[in-house]
Point group: C2
Chain length 520, copies 2
C-alpha cells in the first residue's frame, strides 16, 4: 500500500463535507435510528451515535474522508512498526502490548512482541509472589498496599483504571503520588504503613523531576521512620526503560521495563499500568483488560466506518470540530467508578492532538484537538449541565453507561433501584439535549440540537474497561491522521521544563524572577 499524508483541508472529501446540509437532531432522532446506530467496540461495549447530527449522506462523506486519508492503512502502518512518531523518529507500539495484529516488529535487535510478553510474565510472577507472601517487606510483613509514584501518563491512566476496577475484590489497596507539591506525598504517607507498603517508581526516562523528588521523599520517610530493620530498597520497584538511570540503580528490589515506543499517555496497558493493576486485583484481571483492549483494536481495523466505532467516533468529531466549529467536548460517564476517566482522556486527547503544525512541521490553517473535560453523571447534572442545556455555546457530549452496577448493592426507593434511576437520568439527558423543549417562558425553554454519543455496555468489567480505553486511543489516533498531525510527541511540554531549570539554577531573567518572587 502506498501511503500519502495530506492536510485535512487539502482533501476532496473535506470540501464535500463543508458543502453538506446540516442536520436537525430533532428531526432525525427516531427509535429506529437509536436501535440501528450501535457499533460493537469490544468487551461487550457498544458505541451509539444516533444523537449525533450526521445523516446518511454526511456519513457517506465521512467514509470518503476516512478512505482518502487512508485511516486504515495508517493504522496498519502503526501496527507493523513504521516510524509514525515522526518528530521523535520512533515506532508507536502500544497496541502490541495487548495483542499482535500486524507484522513481527523487530527494533533494537529485539522482537518487541516478545519483549512485551516477557514483561507480562514478569508482572505475573512478581504479583503472584507478593500475593503468596513469597516476597515480603524487609521487616517480614506481607505487602498489603502498593503506591505508584509517577506523573502524567504514569499516573492518570493507571489511576483511572484502578478506580474503575475497585468494585472488584482487591488483593491490595493502591495509592498514587504524582504532584511535586510535597503535600501530595505527605497525605499518602499519613495513610500507609511503610512495613506493608511496596512503592512502584514509574518514569520511562528515569529523569522525571517530580517522580525522582517523590521517590526521594519516600526513601527518606522510610529511613527516618524509626522502624527497626526496615530496608527502603526492599520496598521499591521501578518501571522504566532499560537504558534509564533507574534501571542501573541499587534502590530497587526489582525493575520492570518499557521502551521508547510506548508514549506515556498510551502506557496503561504496558508495565506502567499492568504492574499496579496486577498487584491490586491479580494478574488475571489485568489480562482481561488487555483482552478487551485487543478486541477494540481489532474492531478498529475495519475500513467500513459503520462497523468501526473508533473511526466513526473520530470522524464525527472532525465534523463537529472543523465543519461546525465546536471547540470542546465533554466526557460524561454515568458510573462513579469512572470518576477519573475523563482526566485520563483529557491527557490522551489534548496532549496527542493539541498541535498547530502538521507531521512535517508546517503550520496548520484549521483547528485540531478540542478541549476535553468531564465529570461522572448524575453529579454533573447538578453542576455544569445548566450551561450544556441553556448556555450560548454548543458542547458535544460523550456519555458512557452500563446496565448493572459493579457492587450490586442497590435498593428500591420510590419503586426503582438506584441503577434504574441512574440510567433513567442518562436516557433523559440524551433526549433532553437532542430535542429540547418549548416553553412560553423563555427562561424555561431548551433549544435542543445538542449532540451526544453513548458508549453502553452490560457492566463495567475489566474487559469493557480495556475496550473503553482502547476505543479512545484509537479515536484519537484516527483524528490525528485526519488532521495530519503527529499524535505521539509532546514538544509543547519542553519550554516549561527549560524555564523551570533556569529559575532553580538562579539563571532566570528579570520577568521570570519577578513571578518567582511573588511566590516567595
Amino acid at each position: 500500500m502506498n501511503i500519502t499524508y495530506k492536510n485535512l483541508t487539502d482533501t476532496a472529501a473535506y470540501a464535500e463535507l463543508a458543502s453538506t446540509s446540516p442536520v436537525s437532531l430533532t428531526e432525525i432522532l427516531t427509535p429506529e435510528r437509536i436501535q440501528s446506530c450501535s457499533i460493537p467496540v469490544g468487551g461487550n461495549l457498544n458505541y451509539n451515535y444516533a444523537a449525533m447530527p450526521v445523516s446518511k449522506s454526511i456519513i457517506d462523506v465521512l467514509q470518503a474522508l476516512a478512505d482518502e486519508q487512508q485511516l486504515s492503512d495508517k493504522y496498519r502502518a502503526i501496527l507493523n512498526g513504521s516510524i509514525m512518531n515522526t518528530g521523535e523518529s520512533r515506532a508507536v507500539l502500544h497496541h502490541l502490548t495487548r495483542g499482535k495484529l500486524g507484522d513481527e516488529v523487530v527494533l533494537d535487535e529485539e522482537n518487541k512482541r516478545e519483549f512485551y510478553l516477557e514483561q507480562l510474565e514478569a508482572m505475573k510472577s512478581f504479583s503472584e509472589k507478593i500475593h503468596n507472601k513469597v516476597i515480603k517487606g524487609s521487616t517480614g510483613k506481607p505487602f498489603t498496599t502498593v503506591v505508584q509514584i509517577g506523573i502524567g501518563g504514569s499516573d492518570l491512566g493507571p489511576r483511572a483504571l484502578y478506580l474503575a476496577l475497585s468494585g472488584i475484590t482487591r488483593k491490595m489497596s493502591a495509592e498514587f503520588i504524582s504532584n511535586v507539591d510535597p503535600d501530595d506525598a505527605a497525605a499518602v504517607f499519613k495513610r500507609i504503613n511503610f512495613e506493608e507498603t511496596l512503592f512502584i517508581v514509574v518514569s520511562k526516562s528515569g529523569t522525571t523531576q517530580e517522580t525522582l523528588t517523590n521517590q526521594g521523599l519516600a526513601l527518606r520517610k522510610m529511613a527516618e521512620s524509626g522502624i527497626p530493620g526496615i530496608i527502603p530498597a526492599k520496598h521499591m520497584v521501578a518501571v522504566t526503560s532499560k537504558t534509564s538511570p533507574l534501571a542501573a540503580s541499587d534502590d530497587f528490589l526489582k525493575s520492570f521495563f518499557i521502551d521508547d515506543y510506548i508514549g506515556g499517555r498510551y502506557s496503561s496497558t504496558s508495565a506502567v499500568g499492568g504492574l499496579i493493576l496486577s498487584l491490586a486485583f491479580g494478574f488475571r484481571t489485568f489480562q482481561k483488560v488487555l483482552e478487551g483492549a485487543a478486541e477494540a483494536d481489532r474492531n478498529a481495523l475495519n475500513p467500513d466506518i459503520r462497523k468501526n466505532p473508533a473511526m466513526m467516533d473520530a470522524l464525527i468529531g472532525i465534523y463537529l470540530r472543523n465543519i461546525l466549529g465546536i471547540p470542546t467536548t465533554a466526557i460524561l460517564p454515568y458510573s462513579q467508578a469512572l470518576s477519573r476517566f475523563a482526566a485520563h482522556l483529557q491527557q490522551l486527547d489534548m496532549e496527542s492532538n493539541g498541535k498547530r503544525v502538521n507531521r512535517f512541521g508546517e503550520p496548520l490553517n484549521y483547528q485540531t484537538g478540542p478541549v476535553i473535560f468531564g465529570e461522572p453523571g448524575t453529579n454533573g447534572q447538578h453542576s455544569f449541565y445548566q450551561l450544556l442545556h441553556q448556555g450560548t455555546d454548543i458542547i458535544p457530549l460523550q456519555f458512557v453507561g452500563f446496565s448493572s452496577s459493579q457492587y450490586e448493592e442497590d435498593i428500591v426507593v420510590d419503586n426503582s433501584t438506584s441503577q434504574e434511576k441512574l440510567n433513567a437520568n442518562l436516557a433523559a439527558q440524551i433526549v433532553a439535549f437532542a430535542r429540547g423543549k418549548n416553553d412560553d417562558n423563555p427562561n424555561k425553554q431548551f433549544p435542543g440540537g445538542r449532540p451526544s454519543s453513548l458508549l453502553h455496555g452490560k457492566k463495567l468489567t475489566p474487559e469493557s474497561l480495556g475496550a473503553l480505553l482502547a476505543h479512545f486511543e484509537n479515536k484519537v489516533m484516527f483524528q490525528g491522521f485526519c488532521w495530519n498531525v503527529n499524535s505521539f510527541d509532546q514538544e509543547g511540554v519542553q519550554l516549561g521544563k527549560i524555564l523551570t531549570k533556569q529559575v532553580l539554577s538562579g539563571n532566570s531573567d528579570a520577568i521570570l524572577e519577578a513571578y518567582f518572587s511573588l511566590l516567595k
Copy 2:
C-alpha cells in the same frame, strides 16, 4: 441609587471596548508590571493580572463598563436583600452567612443575619459536643467519621474545602456520597465503621432524588449491619430548609437549617459546608474560612476595579469572552490540596452564567459563561498543557500558588525543595505561555500570547481558602451583571428531571424508551 439593567452590547463602554487595540503580551510583560498588578483579595491572598492582555487604556474602558453596568450598586443591592434572583423571586444572601456589609435583611418575618448566626451557634455547639464525646453513637462509641450525603452544591464546594484543609490536623475524617450510582455509596460503606459514623444528609428542598436514595441506602445498611443495639436515626443529622420534608422527619438526631436565599453552589459558607468543616476540623477553623470570605466580600465592594480583584477578574473575563471570543478558561492551582477546587468552580461558574436569556427572559445575541475546567499543577503540565501551549486555540489560564506547603514536610533534591520546584514550575509556565519561544523547528516553536492570571498567597490557610472561594463567587456575580443574566437560578436542570420521571414511571415516549432500552 437608581439601578438599570441593560444588555452588555447595549452599553456605550462595550462599543468602546470593541474598538480598543489588542495588546501583545510579549511586549507589555515587564518586571514592573508584574510587581504592580497584584490586588489584595483577603486572607493574605492576591490577584495578579500582569499576564492578561489588557493595557492601561483597555482597563480604563473596563472601568467604564463596570460603572455603566453599575456593578458596585448591584452588588450592594444583593447585600441589602433585593430580589436579585428574579426568575425565582428571591433575595441572594450567601454573603450574609459570613458577615454583614449592607442593611438589615428581614424576610419571612425573620432577621436573616440573626438566623445565620443562630445556625452558626448550633454548628459550634453540636460539633463541640461531638468532639467532647457528649454526643456519641447509639452503641456508645465516639463519632470519628462524618459522611456527607448531598449532590451538586451540597457536595462539590464542601468536598473541595474539606480536601483543601486536610493538611490541618483533623478532629474527624470525612467522606462524601453524591452519585445515585449505587457504587458510590457502596465504596464508602466499605471504608467506614457505622458505630463511629455520623451521616449529614444535605438537601435544601428535602426532595433531591439522589440524596434521598443514598440516605435510604445508608439507613438500610445500618439496619442490616447486625450491630447489636445500633439505632440508625441516632447516626444521622439533616441540613435542610425549615419547610422541607426532612425537617419534619424522625430519621434525624438533629436538623440544621438553610433557606431559599442561599443557592446550592453558593452554600459552602452556610450549614451545608459549615457543619462538616466544623466537625472535621473544629468550629474555629470554619470560622476562619468565613473571616477570609468576609474580607474578600468587603474588598469586592470597591468601585475602583484596580483595587477590586473580583471585579477586575470579572471584567478581564468579559474582554476575553466577548471581545477576543474565547470560549473556555482553565483553573490551574499549584497546590495538591486544591485538587477538587476546579470542579467546584466548574459548577459555580457554568451553572451561574451558562444562560442564553437575560434577566428579563429575552434571548441574548452574545456569548455568556465559558466552559471551566482544570487540574492541579504540576500534574496538568504532564497532561493537557501540550494543547494549551501549542494547540490551535487560545485558552486563558487562572493559576493559584502559595509560598509554603501545608504539611511542611519537604526535602531538598538537586539543591531545591519540592515547594521551590513547584513554584519554579508555576513561574516558568506563566512566562512560557505569555512569551512563547522561537525555534527553527516549527514543532518546537511556542507562539506565546497565551494569557493568565495568578492568585498568590503565603500559604493555603482557612482564611486564604475562604477568600479564594468568595473571590470566584464575586467574580461570577459581576460577570452575570455585565451579561445582564440572572446568575442565581438554574432552569436548565429541570427538563432532565421531568424526563427521568417519565422513564421511571413508565410514561416515556418511544425515543426515550429506545435509549433506556439500550441500558437494560
